[in-house]
């Protein structure tokens, strides 16, 4: 509360102190389950606070409500963690101010991605699923150090972030970047706190990875080149928008205006050339920032895998998980169905999802959940895969990430389920419990999990993500009530 001079005069007060009301908010429930409690802003004032949970709501588009009689499997879907090296010279944060499609090149809370993933792992551990699906875009910029931190946070271990040296330092005079020491909401010392090592307990159960575009491409769009590799491990960073660099309204990053195709080489190269010719900042070089090849990334994500990350696994006796790798190798963030994938999927469905094929309970075939990073519906060639799923009676859900949005839609006999990211608001993972229902049907109980990092760093990240005018709040990434905590019924 501040008092103007004139008010002070009138009230006869010579001087009144402005009383700042520092809030020491609770970090919320330790479990992270939004069934018990979740973060909300009922007044719409831009300030999140822990509030009541959201109960499960029945969705019956694919079948009536039926009593359940047993759990088939429990899963957690955590996607788009985008663990990133905010000090990396390979980043291009100055593009953020140009708006779409560069909004993801800088985020106010980007120094806290490791802590958020560790907080999500903690919430998942508290939930205790049978398996965890890591839905892709585990990292942000295809860097080796990012993957090291992310895997430690997710699987358990000591995460040792680098000392921060980037655009959010108080010494950087560029007002387009949020500087926590100076700008509102002020968090003095946040950058050094974010750089401190921390230990993550991990999810404590097997993790099944999905390949995302950011896991193998620079900024999720660009195939690493000699220039980008040199930039990543070098000692010169680009913090400032090169003079005269602009993006005319309506400019598309991809050919033909497609949001998902490979980026226009001319546009990317031109941007890069002009950026490199612009002002640069000297930063500490770090060889651990090496940009990985696809094979390297896949090999680290799933031991023994190479080439692609298409695979299938059983979860318990009655559920089969089929993972599809839609990441483009030639650049571009959108999903791409390779020519061989429809055949491979058809064979997996025929082999694993048919009655008696794999000793399913009671001679019934296993239920099938298909997982990809990009939604099948928006992927190039995705319709061919969807038509296969449409035709198969045991497919109950297709899980995806990439859009950073909570969304659940019925399609044919199964549910298309998209889970929000950990990088943008609402920074949630998804819990799924697959249940048998009377009459031979199935129900999926699903609810969101808020990350629950010990201390206040996770809460700060969530609040900053909420305020972000380019982030998930204005874009409605949290989804509607029916996209979050619901029970999805399906007949036999």
């Amino acid at each position: 509360v501040s008092l103007t001079r004139r008010e002070a005069i009138v009230l006869g007060a010579g001087a009144l102190l402005a009383a700042g009301c520092g809030s020491a908010r609770s970090t919320g429930a330790g479990s992270g389950s939004t069934l018990a409690s979740t973060w909300s802003d009922p007044g719409g004032t831009g300030t999140l606070a822990a509030g009541p949970g959201e109960a499960l709501v029945a969705r019956t588009e694919l079948g009536p409500v039926r009593a359940t009689n047993g759990v088939i499997a429990t899963l957690a879907h955590v996607t788009d963690a985008h663990v990133l090296d905010a000090s990396s010279p390979a980043r291009v944060p100055f593009l953020d101010r140009l708006g779409a499609p560069f909004e993801s090149t800088f985020r106010p809370h980007e120094t806290l991605t490791g802590q958020v993933l560790a907080g999500a792992a903690r919430a998942i551990r508290a939930f205790g699923p049978d398996i965890v699906i890591q839905g892709g875009d585990l990292i942000d910029n295809d860097q080796q150090n990012e993957l090291t931190w992310a895997l430690a946070a997710l699987r358990g271990g000591l995460v040792v972030p680098d000392r921060y040296y980037g655009v959010q330092l108080a010494s950087d005079p560029d007002p387009f970047y949020y500087r926590p020491d100076l700008d509102a909401p002020q968090h003095p010392g946040l950058l050094s706190r974010a750089s401190r090592p921390f230990r993550s307990a991990g999810v404590g159960v097997p993790v099944y990875p999905v390949l995302g575009d950011h896991d193998i491409l620079v900024a999720g769009e660009i195939v690493p080149t000699a220039e980008t590799r040199a930039l990543a491990v070098g000692d010169e960073a680009l913090w400032e928008l090169p003079p005269g660099l602009s993006l005319p309204p309506g400019t598309s990053l991809t050919a033909g205006g497609s949001p998902d195709g490979p980026p226009l080489p001319g546009l990317v190269n031109g941007f890069l050339a002009r950026a490199l010719a612009g002002p640069k900042v000297r930063v500490p070089a770090d060889p651990r920032r090496r940009e990985m090849d696809v094979a390297d990334a896949i090999g680290v994500l799933r031991a023994g895998a190479s080439g692609s990350l298409d695979y299938a696994v059983d979860v318990g006796r009655d559920l089969r998980l089929i993972v599809l790798d839609l990441a483009r190798r030639g650049g571009g963030s959108g999903g791409l169905v390779r020519p061989d994938q429809p055949g491979w999927l058809a064979s997996q469905l025929a082999e694993r999802g048919s009655p008696g094929a794999d000793g399913g309970a009671g001679g019934e075939a296993r239920w099938v959940i298909v997982v990809s990073h990009q939604p099948l519906a928006s992927s190039e060639g995705g319709e061919s895969l969807l038509s296969l799923l449409d035709a198969h009676p045991r497919v109950i859900a297709a899980l995806s990430g990439h859009t950073h949005r909570n969304l659940i839609e019925p399609r044919a006999g199964y549910w298309l389920i998209s889970t929000a990211s950990l990088i943008d608001y609402p920074q949630q993972a998804r819990a799924l419990r697959v249940l048998r229902t009377r009459g031979g049907g199935v129900a999926i109980q699903t609810w969101m999990l808020d990350h629950a990092f010990r201390g206040d760093l996770g809460t700060i990240s969530r609040q900053l993500a909420y305020l972000d005018a380019q982030g998930g709040r204005p874009k409605g990434f949290a989804g509607g009530r029916l996209d979050r905590n619901v029970t999805l019924y399906r007949t036999a």
Partner: protein, 717 residues
């Protein structure tokens, strides 16, 4: 006086807040170069905490015309749906093309009426449907004339103004940071918050209002002292009667109650008359001042405060009468009765005062015999004297601020709207001592985006052209340094050595080390002097506002130099830029308050003289019986007046110079030292006024006294 002070302080002190509430003033006003309205609306929609917003077009430099008036610099705001940010004070809002709402200040100045016609260039003749008020700027003629028209039928227009209302204004800084982060591509971007609006208003009128409000507070205190002193003197006069009543068994409570009741009997009608008089004297001028500021008159909102003042005006004398009566009645009746008459020495002196000059001394001693009353009356007169001196000093200070650039530390006398390349040519003009380009830009603090900063830059040393007194630190010496005004230093917590971060209109941020803090009145002291090279490097567009500052040689012919500079030259301005009407209104208010105060002085003197004569009726009658005429009585009373006026004058002068002047300066503008010490001529004028008041009191009381027969006076108790 109490009510007059209250009217002024309440009306002006809370005027902005009242206006902000009435007009639904937005929390953030954003101005930018013309943009697609939908693009701007999209960005606003992404901001947190936004309760409502409106995106509109403000067309400037539009010709407005009636049959009798014309202005070529009108501002036309094209409004659409949603919240307005202005209050309709008469008539109604625009609903369709062909209608116009006119700002009340303009309506008053041009004598416009509802239903009348206003010619707007580009739109044609519009019918006036309402008058508005909005405190986001001062009103015409302090600012450009402003009107509002409906956007229906005007076709697609690019927006250049957005107004944003927040759900929780405490999150203002968070919202501004997000707005800034998403503002890339919006040229000429300027955020103004409510506090920023207040600062903008203060540029035009703030110091005037602050001085008036501070003056009113001092008047309140002075009036209270005078009321109390007057009531106490009345009790003192009645000590003998109190002693008699006490002797016949009256209780202390009864005596105090009686005294209080009698005071009430006098104070209630007096307070009523005084309240009405105070309101009549000040409400009109104050309302005119508020209209200029686009702020509403308090109206009925003033009634509770007036009622409180009325009660106070009664309660103070009642308590001031009851308390001394209560205390006095605690003394033995004998002591009271003894104390009711002059002491023996005074009586001896009276008998010995035969010489003509001795009558004056006798008068002084008669007044001096009542020490408590003497002190109270001298105090009242002293406060009044100090107050009048303060008003004169204030008027001088305002006049100086209005007209004298030196008051701002400006050493240049002329400006010329010429490019830097014209410097050599201007330097050769006879009478020119120094000339340099001067750059001025309105910026905001990078971290508190609502805090506006007036950035001023010169190549080389600015002290040749502007040198506000240095309060702390040093003058700026390098490219990375700045001198900041004390107002800015106080607002942002800056001191020499700290970092000033300002966001320029170009969107770039400038980081400068604060070299020194200066005392400046410009822009409420929220100024920063920076090197021109630094400013231009960060914002080359600042060169677009380039003009030359010209310092003349002592004795140079200003008119001749101005003519040589051509039509682009203009005299340097004072702190109250276009404030001529404002100062005129202020003079009305000061005059009203001064008259009230003068009447108070006169009343105090007449009362003191009348009381003295009343108590000394027998003494005066004895003198008259021995042949003393009217002149002798006047000499006697003159002695009494001198005994009151001389110490009061000394006290008043000292009080004004040592206490009230500095206090007013501090209250009104903590960021600068205002010259509020009364000058010799002002002191002489006030002393003359006191002499005149004293002479009037002597003449009036002497006339009343000599009307009474000597015999009747001798019979007095």
């Amino acid at each position: 006086m109490l009510v007059a002070a209250l009217v002024v302080s309440d009306s002006l002190g809370f005027g902005f807040d009242r206006a902000a509430r009435a007009s639904d003033l937005p929390d953030i006003i954003v101005r930018f170069d013309p943009q697609s309205a939908s693009r701007v609306a999209q960005r606003i929609a992404a901001l947190p905490d936004v309760a409502a917003d409106t995106v509109r077009t403000e067309v400037t430099d539009v010709g407005l015309e009636t049959a009798d008036e014309f202005a070529g610099d009108g501002s036309v705001e094209v409004v659409g749906q949603g919240r307005r940010g202005y209050a309709i004070v008469s008539g109604r809002d625009v609903t369709r093309p062909g209608q116009v709402v006119v700002e009340r200040g303009l309506a008053d100045a041009w004598h416009l009426s509802l239903g009348g016609a206003l010619q707007i260039d580009g739109l044609g003749t519009e019918r006036i449907v309402g008058f508005s008020e909005s405190p986001d700027n001062v009103s015409y003629p302090l600012a450009v004339p402003r009107v509002y028209v409906s956007d229906r039928g005007t076709g697609p227009l690019a927006a250049d103004l957005a107004e944003i209302w927040l759900r929780d204004p405490r999150n203002l800084n968070e919202v501004l940071v997000q707005a800034r982060a998403t503002s890339y591509g919006l040229q000429g971007l300027r955020f103004v918050t409510r506090s920023g609006v207040r600062v903008l208003l203060d540029q035009a009128a703030g110091i005037v209002i602050d001085l008036l409000v501070a003056l009113s507070l001092i008047a309140l205190a002075t009036a209270s002292v005078m009321l109390a002193a007057s009531a106490r003197a009345e009790v003192q006069r009645r000590l003998a009667a109190i002693g008699v009543r006490r002797a016949v068994g009256a209780s202390r409570a009864h005596l105090a109650g009686t005294q209080a009741f009698e005071a009430l009997f006098v104070a209630a009608p007096a307070a009523t008359v005084g309240a009405i008089g105070g309101v009549l004297a000040t409400y009109g001028p104050t309302t005119r001042l508020l209209t200029l500021l686009n702020e509403p008159a308090p109206g009925t909102a003033l009634l509770p405060a007036l009622a409180a003042a009325w009660v106070a005006a009664i309660a103070i004398p009642v308590l001031a009468a009851a308390w001394p009566a209560w205390r006095a009645s605690g003394r033995p009746p004998v002591a009271l009765l003894r104390g009711a008459e002059l002491g023996a020495s005074a009586r001896r002196s009276t008998r010995l005062s035969a010489p003509r000059a001795g009558l004056t001394v006798l008068g002084a001693r008669l007044v001096g015999a009542r020490r408590t009353r003497l002190v109270a009356t001298v105090a009242a007169l002293g406060f009044s004297t100090a107050f009048v001196l303060l008003m004169l000093a204030l008027a001088s200070a305002l006049s100086s601020l209005e007209t004298d650039p030196q008051a701002l530390g400006k050493h240049y006398q002329l400006t010329a709207n010429l490019p830097a390349s014209a410097v050599p040519r201007v330097r050769r003009i006879p009478g020119v001592q120094a000339v340099a380009p001067r750059y001025e830009e309105e910026a905001v603090d990078s971290y508190s985006l609502g805090e506006t900063i007036d950035v001023i830059a010169y190549p080389g040393s600015h002290t040749v052209f502007e040198a506000p007194p240095l309060v702390s630190g040093t003058r700026l010496r390098g490219d990375g340094e700045a001198e900041v005004g004390l107002g800015l230093a106080q607002a942002l917590g800056l001191s020499p050595g700290s970092t000033l971060a300002i966001q320029l209109e170009s969107g770039r941020e400038l980081r400068l080390r604060v070299a020194g803090v200066v005392s400046s009145l410009d822009h409420d002291g929220r100024v920063a002097y920076v090197p021109a090279a630094t400013l231009l490097a960060a914002d080359p567009s600042a060169a677009g506002d380039e003009h030359l500052a010209v310092v003349l040689r002592p004795g140079a012919n200003v008119a001749a130099v101005s003519t040589a500079l051509g039509s682009t030259s203009a005299p340097a301005t004072g702190a109250i830029g276009r404030g001529v009407p404002l100062v005129a209104v202020l003079r009305s208010i000061l005059r009203a308050v001064a008259i009230v105060d003068g009447l108070v002085c006169l009343y105090a003197l007449i009362q003191a003289c009348a009381l003295t004569v009343q108590e000394r009726r027998r003494t005066v009658s004895v003198l008259r019986a021995f042949g003393a005429g009217g002149a002798a009585v006047r000499r006697l009373l003159a002695g009494a007046v001198i005994a009151l006026v001389v110490p009061a004058a000394v006290i008043g002068i000292l009080l004004e110079r040592l206490v009230l002047g500095p206090a007013l300066s501090r209250l009104a503008a903590s960021y600068v030292t205002l010259p509020l010490g009364a000058s010799s001529s002002e002191i002489a004028a006030v002393l003359a006024g006191l002499v005149l008041a004293g002479a009037t009191a002597v003449a009036w009381v002497a006339r009343q006294t000599t009307r009474e027969s000597v015999i009747e006076g001798m019979r007095a108790p």
